[in-house]
Structure formats: structure tokens, C-alpha cells
């Protein structure tokens, strides 16, 4: 349960060791660069180099994506869980050595991809041309046929309804003398009538005008070939284009063989890009450079060993100053670290917070189990998480924590499920009743929530009170640690006093007895003490809460306002009734599923229907209730628990390290 102690590490070294030192720091990956500005020193402009590497990263990355579309890698469903692959540093340096060639391959991949795309576009264009030629196919001269010595020819389209008679009528209407004209309708379709007209060259102009007045248009770009031949030629061209595409695809396949090298080179350039980014931040003098940043204290000896003793440099270690805000790293054991993801998504512990992981973890798995509360579901969740953890040892760190969290949650669910007698709802009872005519009822170890919902409600609220008292206790602990004893007394002690008094007053009342079916009778002394405690606490809060204000009226006003927070406590406690509600929801829906499945009775069809209902129904119920349990357990932690003591305004640690996408390089 700890935030790691941070220290500021500053290094001043010779420029000639710059590259080596940065590479070492990057491979250690434990320093967050945070440079102290100094006017007298200059910085190197590394942006051109950075851009160059960025471009190379981009090129290799694009090549990998293209390869993946043409020659997809066989990947299992869980590929995303596998993590990066290990490579020997020897193989890696070999790939890096031939990086020029690899980048050329990557460029070639992009070029081939472009070629293929262009050819595909050409094919599409040619196919469109073939389509546009269809109506002209029966024409036996080229579309732009100029005619013979004496005659000329017109081809073009007219309205779809136009008939041969219409055209002759048009010609006659235009000029009676236009008789020596031979008009043919080549074809007709929905959009147009395709016509040709042959006439003596002298009158051709008139004919064209006559037709044009009636909607005749020439083809936009007539081909100088007989349509049929033209189409044939296009088809040949398409085939050769397709053959070329096939060749290109084959080339892609051979190029895909270098995928592993491209991956390594992509990671190499990514590393160099990061390095140059840091390099650009560093203040430098003529011969030396300075580097400063935050590092977990426990990593500092390693730096001294790896850098201070090997290079000519000064390594200076300082404690963090009061006004600095160092980044936060959590460090917990295997159990408590599982919850870190949940804590992080609320916010890392800030300057005045302690790391709440361990205690949150305990409550998280208890509440989660209580909400899911089905032994079989719990067992399934645990086993699935366990198998995934074993099967994918290189899974990402965040994912591993989540899986471990759910594994523990599953175990807790198993326990609660057995206590409440829920195994796939009331599966055992239904199956034995329907199929074996001999009803076996699985007895809960403790009690069945449907029989005694009030007991479970009381239990839920009790958990709520404990949870929030612990939260308040942590606040007191933080205050005492900071030697703010008055705060601890006023903000926590008085509340404890009042709340305990109120609870003790509530316990012997009828209303509590009717809810919990438990009767408490205290001796009158205790009752009096309870009243005194509640009153003393309330008066204390009224007087002390506004102590930061000098104005006495304002002070009492603030006190009264804080006292009003008692309603907040009431709603917070009632909020824990969700433990009961969600727990019941799982069990009831599970028994609805079982009942539906068993409706077809005892027969072969009945068994088949039951199995279907069982598998799909319970899968769905488990998924929805897992989600519900996760969301509402998180909410209880975030709102009711963290609200009592936790700020969560810490800054995550962002060290200078190798951000590889594909490979992990094994150290020699």
C-alpha cells in the first residue's frame, strides 16, 4: 500500500557520451524527463531529425498495414492478449543493420499497393467504356467515321421515344428538299435512341441542324474504331491488367516474408524518434549536456551503477521539494495491485493522499461477490481469468491486473454463492424435479436471500456503515500522519461520535426491529450514553466545522451546513441497498431461465430445449450481471468510499522508455 518515493535525478555529462547515456536511460525506462530551464544554455533543434524518423515510422507502419490487407496474418481470437514477441538482440541488430534495405522494401510495398490501386481504377474505367459501347455494337463503322468521297455520316442519340418516322418527319419539316438521307436506328434503350444518318456532304450540315433541333446530340468523345473491335480490344486490355495485378499480388506475398524485419525496423525508428524528442529538451553547453527528471527512489542505485560509474559525469540525487508535484507510481503486492486499474481510473493518489489500493481491493471483491452471488458464475469467471493469465504470460500489464482482479472477484462470488445457495440460480432443484422426478434442494450454507431479504438488506447496510467508517478512518490517519490533530478530531472524531450515537439510538427502536427482525434491548445507561454521544458530536460539529472562518456567524453557519451532511450519510448508507438488489437480480433471473428451459418437460425435445435455454440464458445473465456488479461496486468505491477521504489528483508517471509496438528485445 504505497506510493513509490520519488527523487529528482540530475545528470551532467559530456556530449560525446550523450547518445550512449540516453540509450541506457531509455532501455532502463525509469526516468521521467523534467528539465529545469536555464537561460544561459542552448537547446539543440532536433525537430528535423525527429520528423525524419517519424516519416520512417509512418512508412514502415503503412507498409505493415498494407501487407496485412493483402496477406493477412493468421491470428487467433485472443491475438490482442498475446503481447509483443521476444527477439534476440542479435536478430534485432541485424534487422537494424539492414534498415535501409528494409525501408526500401516498405516503400516498395507502398508502391506496389499504389500500382494495384491504379490498375483497378483503369479496369473500372475500361469496363465503363465497354458499357457505353453496348448500344453501338451493331454499327459497322467507327463512331467518328468521316464518310466516303461524296457522303458524310452522323451518329448520335435522340430522345428514347423517337421512331424512324419521327426523324423523317423532322427532316421534312425543317426543309422539304432533305430527301436523300438514309437514317438508321441502331438501338434503343431506356435513356436514348441511337441513330445514324448518311447523306450527301452538301446537305449534311442541314441534316445535322434539323436533327439537333429535335434533341440530337453527338457522342461526347467518339472512338475511331468499329465499336465491336473496340470492345474486343478493351477486353484484352482488361485481361492484361488483371494479369499484372495478379503478378503484383504475388510480389506482395514475397514482400510479406520480410514482415518481421519491417516490424523490428518500425520499432527501431520509434525508439530513435523518442530519443531525439528527449534530446531536443536537454539544455547543452559547448561540451556538456544536462538532464534532469523524476525517478522512483528504489531505481536510483541502478542509475548510479549503470551511468555514474561508467561515464564521466556527475549524477546528483535530490529529494523532491515542497512545491514540486512529482508523478505517482503505485507499488503493491500481487493481491492489492490487481485493483490499481480501478483506482487509476478514478485518479492516482495526489500529494496528500495515501494509496488506497489494498483496502479498496478487500471491499471491492467482497461487494462484487455479494452482487453477483452465484457460485457457478463465480467459478466460471475465476477459471476463465486464470486460464487466460496462464496462457498469455506476455499480456499487457493493465490487462493482467484486470484479469487478476476478476479472478479474485470470481472466488469471492463463489463463496457468497455457496453461502446463499445459488448455483446457476436454482438449477439443481429444477433439473432434479423435471428430469429425475426426485427433487433435491441445494441448501444454502447461510440463508437464501429470497427467503430472508430483510436479513440481506441489514447485512448490506451494515457493510455500508463499515465501509464508510473505514473511509473516514483513513482520513483521520492521513490527518494524524500530517500532524493535523485538530482536523483529525473535528472532521473525523466528532462524526464518529455522532454517528455511533445515532446508530446506538436506532438499534433498540421498533422500526429497526421490524426491518431486521432483530431486537436489541440495551440497559438504560447505554441509551443515555448514546443520546449524549449523538448530541455531543452534533454540537461539536456545529461549533468546530467552520473553524477556518474568523467570522463567528459565518463559522456557525458553516457548522450548521456541515451538520446537514447527515442527510448525505443517510443516502450514502441507503445506496448500499444495491448490494441486495443486484444480488437478488442475478438469482431471480437465473431461476426464470431455468424455469423457461424446463417448460417442455421430461422428454428428448425437453432436454434439448433445456440445454439451449441453459447455455444462452445463463451466458446472457452472467454477462449482464458481471457488468452490473462491476459498475456498481466501482461506484460504491468511487462515490461513497473515496468521497470520504480521497482526492485522486495525482499525475501518472510517464517515463522515457522504449515504446515498442511489436518486439521485446532480450538482453544478452
Amino acid at each position: 500500500m504505497a506510493k513509490l518515493q520519488m527523487q529528482r535525478v540530475s545528470i551532467c555529462a559530456l556530449k560525446r557520451d550523450r547518445k550512449a547515456i540516453l540509450e541506457k536511460l531509455q532501455s532502463l525506462g525509469t526516468l521521467e524527463v523534467n528539465v529545469i530551464e536555464d537561460e544561459s544554455l542552448t537547446k539543440m533543434d532536433t525537430s528535423p531529425a525527429k520528423q525524419r524518423f517519424d516519416r520512417k515510422v509512418h512508412q514502415t507502419q503503412t507498409a505493415l498495414e498494407i501487407l496485412n490487407t493483402y496477406v493477412p496474418e493468421k491470428k487467433s481470437m485472443f491475438a490482442s492478449l498475446e503481447g509483443r514477441r521476444d527477439v534476440e538482440s542479435h536478430d534485432f541488430s541485424q534487422a537494424v543493420f539492414s534498415r535501409k534495405k528494409v525501408v526500401d522494401t516498405a516503400k516498395r510495398v507502398a508502391a506496389v499497393d499504389k500500382e494495384i490501386a491504379e490498375k483497378k481504377a483503369t479496369i473500372l474505367k475500361m469496363e465503363a467504356q465497354i458499357d457505353s459501347m453496348q448500344p453501338w455494337l451493331s454499327l459497322e463503322v467507327p463512331l467518328d467515321f468521316k464518310g466516303t468521297e461524296k457522303t458524310g455520316m452522323l451518329v448520335g442519340t435522340m430522345d428514347p421515344e423517337t421512331t424512324l418516322e419521327n426523324i423523317y418527319t423532322y427532316l421534312k419539316e425543317f426543309d422539304d428538299s432533305l430527301e436523300a438521307v438514309e437514317v438508321d436506328i441502331i438501338s434503343k434503350d431506356r435513356n436514348a435512341t441511337y441513330v445514324s444518318a448518311i447523306a450527301l456532304k452538301e446537305i449534311l450540315g442541314k441534316v445535322e441542324e434539323a436533327l439537333r433541333l429535335n434533341g440530337f446530340t453527338k457522342p461526347a468523345n467518339p472512338v475511331n474504331m468499329v465499336p465491336k473491335d473496340y470492345v474486343e480490344q478493351l477486353k484484352v486490355d482488361i485481361q492484361s491488367c488483371e494479369a499484372e495485378i495478379a503478378d503484383s499480388k504475388k510480389e506482395m506475398e514475397t514482400l510479406a516474408a520480410t514482415r518481421r524485419e519491417i516490424e523490428m525496423v518500425a520499432d527501431y525508428y520509434r525508439m530513435r524518434k523518442d530519443k531525439y524528442e528527449v534530446l531536443g529538451l536537454l539544455p547543452q553547453s559547448e561540451r556538456t549536456f544536462f538532464l534532469s527528471g523524476y525517478m522512483p527512489a528504489e531505481e536510483v542505485p541502478k542509475i548510479e551503477k549503470e551511468i555514474a560509474s561508467k561515464y564521466q559525469c556527475v549524477v546528483d540525487i535530490e529529494e523532491i521539494k515542497e512545491e514540486e508535484e512529482p508523478p505517482v507510481v503505485l507499488k503493491n503486492g500481487a493481491f492489492a495491485s490487481s485493483i490499481e486499474g480501478v483506482v487509476e481510473s478514478y485518479g492516482l493518489p495526489g500529494k496528500n493522499d495515501i494509496d488506497p489500493s489494498k483496502i479498496t481491493m478487500v471491499f471491492f471483491i467482497i461487494f462484487f461477490g455479494l452482487m453477483l452471488s452465484d457460485a457457478a458464475y463465480g467459478a466460471i469467471v475465476s477459471i476463465v481469468c486464470f486460464i487466460l493469465l496462464k496462457k498469455f504470460p506476455k499480456i499487457s500489464e493493465g490487462m493482467r491486473k484486470s484479469l487478476r482482479l476478476f479472478m479474485f472477484c470470481g472466488l469471492s462470488t463463489l463463496v457468497w454463492g455457496l453461502l446463499f445457495g445459488g448455483v446457476f440460480g436454482d438449477l439443481v432443484q429444477i433439473v432434479t424435479k423435471t428430469f429425475f422426478d426426485h427433487e433435491i434442494i441445494l441448501k444454502p450454507i447461510w440463508f437464501a436471500p429470497l427467503d430472508k431479504p430483510m436479513l440481506l438488506l441489514t447485512l448490506s447496510l451494515l457493510f455500508g456503515v463499515i465501509h464508510m467508517f473505514v473511509g473516514l478512518g483513513i482520513k483521520a490517519y492521513v490527518c494524524i500522519k500530517d500532524k493535523r490533530y485538530l482536523d483529525a478530531f473535528c472532521d473525523v472524531g466528532l462524526w464518529y461520535l455522532m454517528l455511533t450515537g445515532l446508530i446506538l439510538m436506532l438499534l433498540p427502536t421498533d422500526i429497526f426491529a421490524s426491518i431486521s427482525q432483530m431486537t436489541f434491548s440495551f440497559p438504560p445507561v447505554v441509551n443515555t450514553i448514546a443520546k449524549v454521544m449523538a448530541a455531543a458530536g452534533a454540537i461539536g460539529i456545529f461549533l468546530m466545522s467552520g473553524r477556518s472562518s474568523k467570522n463567528p456567524v459565518l463559522r456557525l453557519g458553516l457548522g450548521a451546513y456541515d451538520l446537514y451532511n447527515i442527510t448525505g450519510w443517510l443516502s450514502d448508507i441507503l445506496s448500499y441497498s444495491r448490494l441486495l438488489a443486484l444480488g437478488l437480480a442475478t438469482g431471480v433471473v437465473a431461476s426464470v431461465i431455468n424455469q423457461m428451459g424446463s417448460m417442455a418437460g421430461k422428454s428428448v425435445a425437453g432436454v434439448i430445449i433445456f440445454i439451449f435455454a441453459f447455455v444462452f440464458g445463463h451466458l446472457l445473465n452472467m454477462a449482464i450481471n458481471l457488468l452490473g456488479a462491476y459498475v456498481h461496486t466501482s461506484r460504491l468505491q468511487y462515490v461513497e468510499f473515496f468521497g470520504k477521504f480521497y482526492d485522486g489528483d495525482g499525475r501518472p508517471f510517464n517515463p522515457f522508455k522504449t515504446n515498442n509496438e511489436y518486439v521485446d528485445i532480450k538482453e544478452d
Partner: protein, 156 residues
């Protein structure tokens, strides 16, 4: 109407209204989620979780409906002979989850839409995004609690 009809009406309203609310809410959130996935398919799981949040009211309605049905003996076995007064009591007991379920699921759906907006812009703020719709659900849970306690306490 006799007692059995009143009780059945209550059970049906619990399922119908709460279910409609959830359908509205999940539908609203689903539209927003689909939009985010068009832009960035890797956010699928996160937005799916947010989409499903308003779906619980329907389950709560089902839960109350189921308990009410088994109370009046309509599941297996013969229907119990219940007086009109008892039937109306069961009807009244079903109302909280029916009405609160309808309205809270609709508004939870709208809140989910807003939270999906958070995921679209800041996917690392998932924990906080999840919290806003969960706040709305509190009231459905309170209604469920009262409906449940009332239905199970009514003697038949």
C-alpha cells in the same frame, strides 16, 4: 376486476414500463455508441459497457414481475384465490419499479449518451464516464428495493 386481475396488471406494468424504459435508454445510447465505433472501432468494448448500463431497469422490472407472478401462483400450480384488496396491494407494490424504472432508464440512457461522448474524446476517463449513468440508476435500485419488500411482505 377481481384480485387476481389487479395483481397480474401490476406484474405486467412492472415488466412493460421498466422494459420500455430500458429499451429507450439502451436504444439512445446505442446510437451514440455506433457513431463512436464508426470513428474508432477499438473503443467498442468501452462504449458497449456504457450502452448496456440503462438495460438493468428492464431486469428489475422482470424481477418484480416474476416475484409477483409466483406470489399469486401463476407460475406452475394453480392460481391462488386472492381477494380484491390483496390484488390491489400487489398492484400498488409493483408501481415503484414500473414508473421509476421507465423514467430513470430513459434518463440514464441520455446520461450514457453524454458519457459515450467522454469516451470518444478521452478514452482514458472510462471510470468517471461510467459513474454518471450509475448515479441515475440509484433511484431505480431504491424503487426496486421498495417494490421487492412490499411484494414479498404482502400475505397471500
Amino acid at each position: 376486476m377481481n384480485g387476481l386481475t389487479w395483481a397480474l396488471l401490476g406484474a405486467m406494468l412492472a415488466v412493460i414500463l421498466a422494459g420500455c424504459g430500458s429499451a429507450l435508454g439502451v436504444g439512445l445510447a446505442g446510437q451514440a455508441a455506433a457513431g463512436v465505433v464508426t470513428e474508432d472501432p477499438s473503443k467498442f468494448v468501452k462504449v458497449l459497457v456504457l450502452q448496456l448500463l440503462p438495460g438493468t431497469q428492464g431486469i428489475y422490472g422482470l424481477l418484480i414481475g416474476f416475484i409477483a407472478l409466483s406470489k399469486i401462483g401463476l407460475l406452475g400450480g394453480g392460481a391462488a384465490d386472492i381477494s380484491k384488496g390483496t390484488g390491489m396491494m400487489i398492484f400498488a407494490a409493483c408501481l415503484p419499479i414500473a414508473i421509476v424504472g421507465l423514467i430513470s432508464a430513459y434518463h440514464q440512457g441520455k446520461t450514457s449518451v453524454a458519457s459515450i461522448g467522454i469516451i470518444a474524446k478521452k478514452p482514458d476517463q472510462f471510470g468517471k464516464a461510467m459513474l454518471f449513468p450509475a448515479m441515475v440508476e440509484t433511484y431505480a435500485i431504491l424503487a426496486l428495493l421498495i417494490s421487492f419488500m412490499a411484494v414479498s411482505a404482502i400475505p397471500v
